[in-house]
């Protein structure tokens, strides 16, 4: 039995971050490997913890923090562990991916600098990067709303700095924009948390159910929903997403998808699970918002020519699928929606990072100027197609069974609320065609056809293995979960299956 297994997954990235910071000039270019291997270790821990949860065990770790009201208790159950595991795998993959990518960004932004400055930049990226797994896993495991708020607030910090130091053209302004949006969401979340405290008497998520049926529950749900919808970039809160995704260094753009998607987990953990009866009133409006966002986001993506904005806009559309599933409020749709969220973050990490590879190799962002790159970059093309398949829900990617389970629930809910529910369900399913259209259209524009003449003389080739292999492994995880979805669904069902919803 490994002691403090959940705490370790949060603390190890912190220690690694401090280690990199303190020894930055000594470890130098090995900082990326230190970050990667520390995350590999926590991935191992999470696999062990998930295996225990798979056999029905609920892992609880109690740590006092500030009095009896604010504790730092951690909960590893069927809901938190698979989410944490997949997120950590992606963080690990991206840490290794970043080893070469960050070198390229430093060169692009700062040009020729002395070794000391260069190492400062290089190591800064990795000690900041480790803030992501820390915050993500914190959000997943904490049992307390204040602690959750804390970790949700920690997330924008590495995001802000990495964006400002390593982002693209308009990086400082967009970093600020991202931060302000994060504060907007956080304020709403905090307001909801404060109301909960005054009604329930503590911040424990496990006691939230005592608020059920109380008039204040409506306002709590509304406030927290606004916070989460802003994070998920649901229309009309979507305007920040294309900017932020487009200007970020691509090596963390995959984590931005996680940053937005984790709101789906919070929604299930904080609202749906304890307050499902009060949540019902929001079900239909949320489903309508989700449908609008799916179509709006897809059309927005279809219009993009910038390879980074393309991936960003598609996130808007894809996140709405999870929202549709969760708000349909059936066991199938909630489990499917959560599973879809995991499939999506894997697919999006692959797609975003491949977009990064394209920019890294060609130096251009306009997809129309790429064309015919398939023969020159076969592995990159494979990765992009893999990402396209994951987003469009093609077997054997995990999004296929996720989509099936989720829509089973959405249709179940729809038939019970004929005609509006059924119309939304049918339109929701048909809207996936837009995803297939824009993803596979991008494959054609970027990789097929004759090679663009402006690229013919360049030394364009696939990236180093340290960039492509982590993404191929992430794709393999998606395939494993697609072939054997029981690994995740059984875990979700241990928690969500207990809900008294249809």
């Amino acid at each position: 039995m490994i002691p403090h297994i959940l705490l370790q997954t949060i603390v190890v990235p912190v220690l690694a971050s401090i280690f990199i910071f303190l020894t930055r000039h000594r470890i130098g270019r090995k900082a990326g490997w230190v970050a990667g291997f520390s995350l590999l270790y926590t991935t191992g821990l999470l696999i062990i913890a998930s295996a225990r949860a798979y056999h029905g065990e609920v892992i609880v770790e109690k740590y006092p923090f500030a009095g009896s009201n604010i504790t730092f208790d951690l909960l590893g159950d069927g809901l938190s562990l698979p989410v944490a595991l997949i997120i950590n795998i992606l963080c690990t993959a991206l840490a290794f991916y970043s080893i070469h990518y960050v070198e390229h960004r430093i060169e692009a932004i700062y040009g020729e600098v002395d070794e000391h400055t260069w190492l400062n930049h290089y190591t800064r990226f990795f000690w900041l990067f480790l803030g992501f797994p820390l915050a993500f896993l914190g959000v997943c495991f904490v049992k307390n709303l204040v602690a959750m708020y804390f970790f949700l607030e920690v997330l924008p910090i590495p995001l802000y700095f990495i964006m400002a130091f390593f982002g693209y053209i308009d990086r400082v302004r967009v970093a600020m924009l991202c931060l302000l949006w994060a504060f907007f969401g956080a304020s709403c979340f905090l307001a909801g948390t404060v109301i909960i405290y005054y009604q329930v008497g503590n911040f424990n998520i496990s006691d939230l159910h005592t608020l059920a049926g109380h008039p204040a529950a409506f306002w709590v749900i509304l406030l927290i929903l606004v916070a989460l919808l802003a994070k998920m970039a649901v229309v009309p809160f979507q305007v920040w997403m294309p900017w932020v995704h487009a200007e970020h260094p691509t090596c963390i753009a995959g984590l931005l998808a996680v940053y937005a998607n984790i709101a789906a987990y919070v929604m299930v953990r904080v609202i749906v699970y304890p307050l499902y009866e009060d949540f019902k009133i929001f079900s239909m409006p949320l489903m309508i918002m989700a449908l609008i966002t799916m179509v709006y986001g897809s059309l927005l993506t279809l219009a993009q020519t910038d390879v980074k904005r393309f991936a960003a806009c598609s996130t808007i559309s894809q996140l709405a699928y999870s929202l549709l599933g969760i708000s349909a409020l059936t066991i199938f749709s909630v489990e499917g929606g959560m599973f879809f969220f995991l499939g999506h973050i894997i697919g999006k990490t692959i797609l975003f990072s491949t977009a990064g590879i394209l920019v890294y190799s060609t130096g251009i962002r306009d997809m129309r100027q790429m064309g015919g790159l398939g023969p020159k970059m076969p592995i990159t093309a494979t990765l992009w197609i893999m990402g396209a398949m994951a987003l469009s829900g093609f077997p054997p990617m995990s999004s296929f069974p996720a989509e099936w389970i989720m829509f089973t629930g959405i249709f179940k809910s729809g038939i019970q609320t004929i005609p509006s529910g059924l119309i939304i369900a049918i339109l929701g399913a048909v809207a996936i065609i837009l995803t297939a259209a824009y993803t596979f259209r991008s494959v054609k524009i970027i990789f097929f056809g004759p090679l663009n003449l402006s690229l013919a003389n360049g030394e364009i080739k696939d990236p180093p293995l340290s960039m492509s292999v982590p993404l191929l492994l992430a794709g393999s995880v998606s395939i494993i979960l697609g072939v054997y979805p029981k690994l995740v669904i059984k875990l979700f069902h241990l928690v969500v299956g207990g809900l008294p919803i249809p």
Binding site: P236, F394, I426, G449, I489
Partner: protein
């Protein structure tokens, strides 16, 4: 049962092993690519004895794949329908892979090609042998994905692989055609998913066998919601309509021949388009039970749509075949049209209790005979295009001089397509016409008979333009440039010869094969599922004879003018066209594909792109401007004097860091306090 599993597994083993073997030696790779489909075909043939003993069917074998939140089994279902389909898919696909050995020789992307072909075959076998909707849908989606990749095999889009034209008609690149196929068929798939999930809601099972067995309990429950069964019929049929290229989702198939020749043969004969027909046949018992046993009137919608979609498609596509200039496109239109015939058979099966067995039998019998003759036609077409260095029939002519064997094989297949006795196309088409007459669907029968004439005309025209008449200028140029149009590689004409042989054999055994299929379906639908049927009344007129005579007369009616125009060339068809205005109007209308394709591009493609631009340029930019510029401007203008001291939206990094620190320290203090 193990043969059924092996039948599915072998091509998937190919998918995994081909890329590995390619690294060892190309010969190993090529051998595996053909040998594994061969083993699959062998395994499917081992299932055939069950057809002679249908009482022992169905046999099911499955393992639990998913137990929560609902149970899904990964299983195989062996019944008459799946046995027939598995054999068609596996055997024809194997013959096509043999042809590929010659056709694809020297292709730089051969490893990818072989992998995808094996995946295509495996997915199709998974589709037809699966015992539940989820697994079927996995096969369904994979088939769509493979077709996308194989149609776009020449993904560099070199001009020599473009199809369409001649100017002013637009050309289309292979990758464009692949994308078109994927989007159009996926559209149908997703609508179908809705239908499947609604059925699952009412029935609580995805197992195909259980669905039929329990339909007496869930069908009435579904009928309690008015319009629900009609809705489900439309939703469920959208998938097969897309995959089988039926009206109104038929426009992708004519472009699907942008891929290599054998891929066209796979799509048109053995795999993709047959999946839709299979699914419709699979669903017949459910809706038949609903209509004829439970008395739910709405259930008949399923059959009405099927039959009418079939006959409209058969007619519309045949008219387009009359004017096609590209050899493979003419064959593609013919596929669309012939699949329409299969849909007629399956549709009329539910319109009358006396047509159940004959309708289902005729639809599937035509699927079988079409698979053989269409595979032969496409493979021969591939050889001819190779030899003539052109995709246009107008640039061929007199090719029998150079390719006598191909001429014979293609002629046999073409005569079968026309429906000339005693070839299998005659027997199967006749069976469809007869069952539509038995179901009293007179208008469908008449339109189908007219289409027989059209089929006969365009097939004779095709043979005439390719093999008869004077040699085209293009062929002369090819010869002058040192080209030598000649018979194809041994593996290529050998595959065509085998198919032609099967056509002849199937022709002689036609009535026996029909009887065998009929007995199998009788045992399955009536004996096992206890679906009520009525034996056809004894009419004073012999319907069988009438249909046969009318059918042969229709064939003659179409073949004779085409014979005089394109084979013996008594008159120049262009002179006739210029002489009659009505012919010009009709020609233009058919050439532009009834304006359907253009309409789709205008509305769906251009429309979606314009809408996307509107969303991006007006809605998103406008909203972004409002939220990120106007709103902050408003605040800063109003409170400029105060805010100037706290300005954060600036490119000065120091300000931003200070701001964050202040906010975070403040928040931390608030929380701890």
């Amino acid at each position: 049962m193990k043969f059924a599993w092996l039948c599915v597994l072998f091509p998937f083993i190919g998918v995994l092993s081909i890329p590995v073997l390619a690294k060892v030696h190309s010969k190993f790779r090529d051998f595996a690519a053909v040998f594994l489909p061969f083993l699959s075909a062998l395994a499917s043939l081992m299932l055939l004895p069950y057809l002679f003993n249908p009482e022992s069917l169905p046999i099911e074998s499955s393992v639990v794949w998913l137990s929560v939140p609902f149970v899904v089994e990964f299983g195989i279902l062996v019944d008459p329908l799946s046995i027939i389909l598995a054999n068609v898919v596996a055997v024809i696909s194997f013959i096509i892979t043999v042809y590929c050995l010659g056709y694809m020789k020297g292709d730089p992307d051969i490893t990818r090609f072989w992998t995808l072909v094996n995946l295509f075959i495996g997915s199709m076998l998974l589709l037809v042998l699966s015992n539940n909707f989820l697994l079927l849908f996995i096969g369904w989606k994979l088939v769509g994905l493979c077709s996308y990749a194989l149609i776009g095999h020449y993904y560099k889009d070199e001009k020599k692989y473009w199809i369409g034209g001649p100017p002013p008609t637009k050309y289309a690149s292979p990758t464009h055609c692949g994308l078109k196929a994927l989007v159009v068929t996926s559209f149908g798939d997703l609508i179908m998913l809705g239908g499947i999930l609604i059925i699952f809601f009412y029935s609580g099972t995805l197992n195909l066998h259980e669905l039929i067995k329990t339909s007496s309990s869930w069908m009435p429950a579904m009928a309690e919601t008015p319009g629900m069964i009609i809705l489900v019929s439309f939703l469920l049929l959208a998938g097969p309509i897309g995959k089988s290229a039926q009206f109104p989702l038929h426009e992708w198939l004519p472009e699907a021949m942008a891929g290599p020749g054998p891929v066209s043969a796979l799509i048109h004969a053995a795999t993709m388009v047959k999946s839709g027909v299979y699914l419709v046949a699979r669903l017949i018992p459910i809706f038949y039970y609903g209509y004829w046993v439970t008395g739910i009137g709405e259930a008949s919608t399923f059959f009405t749509i099927t039959a009418w979609v079939g006959v409209i498609t058969a007619f519309v596509a045949a008219t387009q075949g009359l004017v096609a200039l590209e050899l493979k496109k003419a064959l593609a239109f013919s596929t669309v049209s012939q699949i329409g015939y299969m849909w007629i058979g399956l549709g009329v099966a539910g319109l009358s209790p006396s047509a159940l067995v004959s309708g289902a039998t005729s639809g599937i019998f035509h699927l079988l005979s079409h698979a053989v003759f269409k595979a032969c036609l496409f493979l021969c077409a591939g050889s001819i295009i190779h030899a003539a260095h052109s995709i246009y029939m107008t640039e061929m002519g007199s090719m029998r001089k150079y390719m006598p064997l191909t001429w014979i094989f293609m002629l046999v297949a073409a005569l079968s397509l026309m429906g000339l006795p005693p070839l299998p196309g005659f027997w199967s088409k006749d069976a469809i016409l007869l069952s539509s007459l038995e179901a009293q669907a007179i208008s469908i029968f008449v339109l189908a008979m007219v289409t027989v004439t059209l089929t006969s005309f365009y097939t004779t025209r095709l043979i005439g333009m390719v093999f008869y008449g004077p040699e085209s200028m293009h062929v002369k140029h090819v010869k002058q440039a040192g080209g030598n149009p000649h018979e194809a590689d041994r593996t290529m004409w050998g595959a065509c010869a085998v198919l032609a042989g099967i056509i002849v054999l199937l022709g002689f055994l036609g009535p026996r094969v029909e009887h065998l299929l009929s007995a199998a379906f009788q045992s399955d639908l009536v004996g096992r599922l206890h679906l009520p049927v009525k034996h056809p009344e004894n009419h004073s007129i012999n319907y069988h004879l009438v249909v046969s005579v009318l059918s042969v007369l229709s064939v003659m009616l179409g073949a004779l003018p085409a014979y005089f125009l394109y084979i013996v060339r008594k008159k120049d068809p262009r002179v006739l066209l210029n002489k009659f205005a009505i012919l010009q109007i009709l020609h233009g209308f058919f050439w532009r594909r009834w304006f359907i394709d253009g309409f789709y591009y205008k509305v769906f493609v251009d429309g979606a792109l314009k809408l996307a631009d509107f969303v991006a340029d007006y809605l998103e930019d406008g909203f972004d401007n409002l939220v990120h510029r106007k709103f902050p401007d408003l605040i800063t203008r109003k409170f400029h004097g105060v805010l100037i001291h706290f300005r954060t939206d600036t490119d000065v990094f120091f300000y931003n860091i200070t701001y964050i620190l202040i906010v975070f320290i403040g928040l931390l203090l608030v929380i701890l306090w």
